[in-house]
């Protein structure tokens, strides 16, 4: 008889997944189990929760296979990272990354606003005096360059690098990537700022006449025009998590808007002076605002509570949050980048850079460690290690996509375009069971109509022939039904009273059980 030495597995079972990685993929908490008698429902819920957990675990395991890692910058012990200049960084890294730090000297056409496309490959520059250029900034290839001969307030890429919108002095224009004017939309006048909601294909514009307008760029229709009645709208940003537009006002308030309501969803008083800039992070948790009162404040945008407040000697005119949570603030001609401003108290900037002109536009490049700054002297692209998300998803925004891939992606994105009705503060509203809506709607209808359409109609006795509809007979019939209703009402009230009695007794019993004080009268209690 052989005795086999069974080599036992020193690490039995599947590999453990670190808790924080699992937390990243966690969606909702587990549901409360339904009543035991509801077998089918319990079964369905248990199965779907199992499948969901397995999917989350698989996604967490896949995290290990991500090819790239985030950037970082660490100075030596006694040196601050903010003293390191851009030239030093550019020299220290490899040549292609070093080429990402460059300056475009365009001092003729005024301070520049900029926008990076969703994939991060294409850059759109708009100078105040009419110069509009789009560049593939990595290869420094110029796609188009035009002068629109009017003042340009803002520029924005649409869903691909094929079209962009320019808010000019009077109206809104849409151009092709070859510089051809495609549309002049006169309904959108005096536009100062624009935001593009990529998953809804909506271009939200804020105008000087305090109108917030939404344009569906896939069908070309104006979805909503909201008169905000709050004055000149110069400060605007979107919450990428739920597609809500944040507007900053001169009285220090920040208001939140969705195209479905004519009033603001939320009004928050953020600063004592005017609000100069607003930025929201990509998970939709933190909102950073800067105001004329020289303060920089961090709010939790889900609970609308202030988290942190910092003092800046000069208020930040532009703010931008990167994909990995770095905040860039521009004051005058200096740009400062702060790390982890939302979670930990920050005492000094991560990086700083001085430019040649006043900063007019600030934007982090989506999947690169690059910060684009538009200023009075042109455009500067800064290296900010650790700003960009290192691993992109090829099916969503792929900087290396071919033309065919872009076309396929565009078709799929158009088919999955979310209707503007679904924009609300909580994007997961559809996934929740809706219990209150019917009752709410019913109440609203009762209020509007003045009566309850579902209430039982007053009993009208049928007119019977052959003398059976004498006054006495009719009264008798009416009395029968009236007694019925009375009986119902009495029965219901008795039931309610009994239920309340029972609950009260339960509560008292529980309280008595918890309380340890004994009184002399306890022996008389049943």
């Amino acid at each position: 008889m052989f005795i086999f030495f069974q080599k036992s597995d020193p690490f039995p079972g599947p590999a453990p997944i670190p808790e924080d990685r699992l937390q990243k993929f966690k969606r909702k908490d587990k549901l409360k189990k339904p009543h035991r008698k509801q077998h089918k429902l319990r079964d369905i819920i248990a199965r779907s929760e199992d499948a969901s957990e397995m999917a989350q675990k698989q996604a967490a395991r896949f995290d290990l296979l991500l090819p790239e890692e985030a950037g970082f910058l660490e100075g030596d012990e006694d040196e601050d990272t903010c003293m390191i200049s851009q030239e030093d960084i550019a020299e220290a890294v490899d040549i292609t990354s070093g080429a990402k730090y460059f300056n475009l000297k365009l001092s003729q056409f005024g301070p520049y606003r900029l926008d990076y496309s969703k994939t991060g490959r294409h850059l759109l520059l708009g100078g105040r005096r009419g110069h509009v250029a789009c560049i593939d900034w990595a290869s420094k290839q110029l796609m188009c360059e035009i002068n629109v001969m009017e003042s340009v307030n803002d520029v924005k890429w649409l869903h691909t690098e094929a079209m962009y919108a320019v808010a000019q002095k009077k109206w809104l224009y849409i151009y092709d990537s070859n510089g051809i004017e495609l549309h002049c939309i006169r309904k959108f006048n005096d536009v100062l700022r624009m935001q593009f909601l990529p998953y809804h294909f909506l271009l939200a514009t804020a105008s000087a006449t305090s109108f917030l307008q939404y344009l569906d760029v896939s069908v070309g229709k104006e979805v909503a025009a909201i008169c905000t009645k709050t004055g000149r709208l110069d400060v605007m940003c979107q919450n990428p998590h739920n597609a809500i537009i944040h507007l900053g006002h001169a009285n220090g308030t920040v208001t939140l808007w969705s195209p479905n309501q004519k009033e603001a969803l939320v009004k928050m008083l953020c600063h004592q002076g005017g609000v100069r800039s607003v930025a929201v992070d990509k998970t939709g948790t933190y909102m950073v605002t800067s105001g004329m009162d020289k303060k920089l404040k961090v709010y939790d945008v889900r609970t609308f509570k202030p988290l942190k407040s910092y003092f800046l000697p000069a208020g930040a005119a532009c703010l931008s949050l990167s994909q990995r949570g770095l905040l860039s603030a521009a004051t005058g001609d200096v740009v400062q980048v702060y790390k982890d401003v939302c979670s930990m108290p920050v005492t000094k900037p991560y990086m700083a850079h001085r430019l040649r002109g006043t900063v007019w536009g600030l934007h982090f490049c989506p999947f690169e460690d690059v910060l684009g700054v538009g200023h009075g002297d042109g455009f500067t692209s800064m290296l900010v290690p650790g700003a960009g998300e290192p691993n992109f998803d090829g099916l969503d925004a792929n900087p290396y996509r071919s033309a065919k891939q872009r076309q396929e992606w565009e078709v799929k994105a158009l088919m999955e375009k979310i209707q503007p009705d679904l924009i609300s503060l909580d994007p997961t509203e559809l996934a929740q069971v809706d219990q209150a809506t019917w009752e709410q709607r019913h109440q609203d209808r009762v209020e509007v109509l003045g009566f309850d359409p579902l209430a039982k109609e007053k009993f009208v006795p049928k007119y019977k022939k052959k003398g059976r509809s004498s006054a006495g007979a009719i009264e008798r019939r009416k009395k029968q039904v009236a007694h019925e209703e009375q009986r119902d009402v009495i029965r219901k009230s008795v039931e309610d009273k009994m239920k309340m009695e029972k609950e009260r007794k339960e509560r008292e019993r529980k309280k008595a059980a918890l309380s340890t004080q004994k009184s002399a009268l306890d022996r008389f209690k049943k």
Binding site: D80, F311, T347, E416
Partner: protein, 495 residues
Amino acid sequence: MQPGGPGIPQCNARSPSLFTINTWLVCSLLANIFVAIIFPFCKRVPLRYQMKVKVIARNPDDYVRETKLDIQRVPRNYDPSLHPFEVSREYTRALNATKLERVFAKPFVASLDGHRDGVNCMAKHAKSLSTLLSGSCDGELKVWNLSKHECVRTLQAHEGFVRGMVVRYCGTSFFTVGDDKTIKQWKMESPGYGEEEEPINTILGKTVYTGLDHHQNDPVFATCGQQVDIWDEQRSSPIRSFTWGVDSFSSVHFNPVETELLASCASDRSIVLYDMRESTPLKKVIMTMRSNTLSWNPMEAYYFTCANEDYNLYTYDMRYLAKPIMVHMDHVSAVLDVDYAPTGKEFVSASFDKTIRIFAKDGGHSREVYHTKRMQHVICIKWSADNKYILSGSDEMNIRLWKANAAEKLGVLAPREREAANYSQKLKEKFQHHPQIRRIARHRHLPKTIYHQTKELRVMKEARRRKEKNVRKHSKPGSVPVVSEKEKHVVTVVK
């Protein structure tokens, strides 16, 4: 906060001050300018800081395909923050999938033409998916090739109706019973050149036989007429007969899983269960109206569904016949035939109201209805053994071939197609309760007669319910018991 040099004010304890950094910057820049001005002829040595730095640097070779013949590279990152609006996007996809399902819902495949009288019964071939046998009301029997949609063999089986037919489990022969009181066994293969169509075996009986079924594994078959007989293939008289005081039985079926059990529908509105090994029937359940036929669930041994004259189908658990597991309501006229899918999850029913309905095994209402202007009363129905097709034989001498899944694409699917179809299916299931999606998924076009008839039946049911409620309200509490819908249709169970 580290002091960078002399004369720099300390920070406030209350709010961290950041203006000191600006002064550092100014100092460093001034230092640069100073150096440049003072030493214009020296090569300016840049300030070098010791640092560790890494910037995202992607190699395009890792992200772009090598040659035109490769597939594109698609790196994935499942981080939820990169994919916002999960629920809304899935909802939109589910909505699109539901709409597309309605667009592609074209269930009719083919019509098999050839019978000269209404099709009365059909039989699936035990071994071959593409063979179907059908018997008509003039005694004619046809064997069809379903892939070519043509009849391969015709023979005159009986004089009068062909009441029942079944293919033997080995697939080499089949049995038929007809109005001329005979049971005939035929060979499956066509007769050779010059030979005449002759049954292998003929058994003459004394009474008309109305139904026939064969055992799954043994050479035993059962017929029903005035009583239920169990026959051995070698004998010309039944080995056992079951009676229970009923004058006629309409159909008999063997249980495909528990192969010794039988069930039959009798004309006294009852369903009788037998065990072949016993000498007397097991038990019977009497209902309010007569059942035309029944079908056993091929996956669950104890469930069977019977097609009743009161427009409903009832699924019973064989062990507890007092209350049906489910009442399936949707037809507007008597249900004539029922057949289960081989998965046991769904069944199809044929009704006198010229429609075919597909029900889930535990669904009170149908998930699908098939109808055509040309299809009249559907007499018999079969679900094909590969779970993909439904065969219906109707009064107007045609057998129709339908898809079980109306929007399914037939044929071999590429792996991506299959995955996309599975994904759409799962999305539709996930969001099936949302009002917009439910409205679109439920929408079916019905012939006007059936639409109005359904409304009328609903009004009648509502009136009956209201009356019962009023009676209960005005009687002594407890004197009018609440009878659930399921219990309403069962009269009694007799052991």
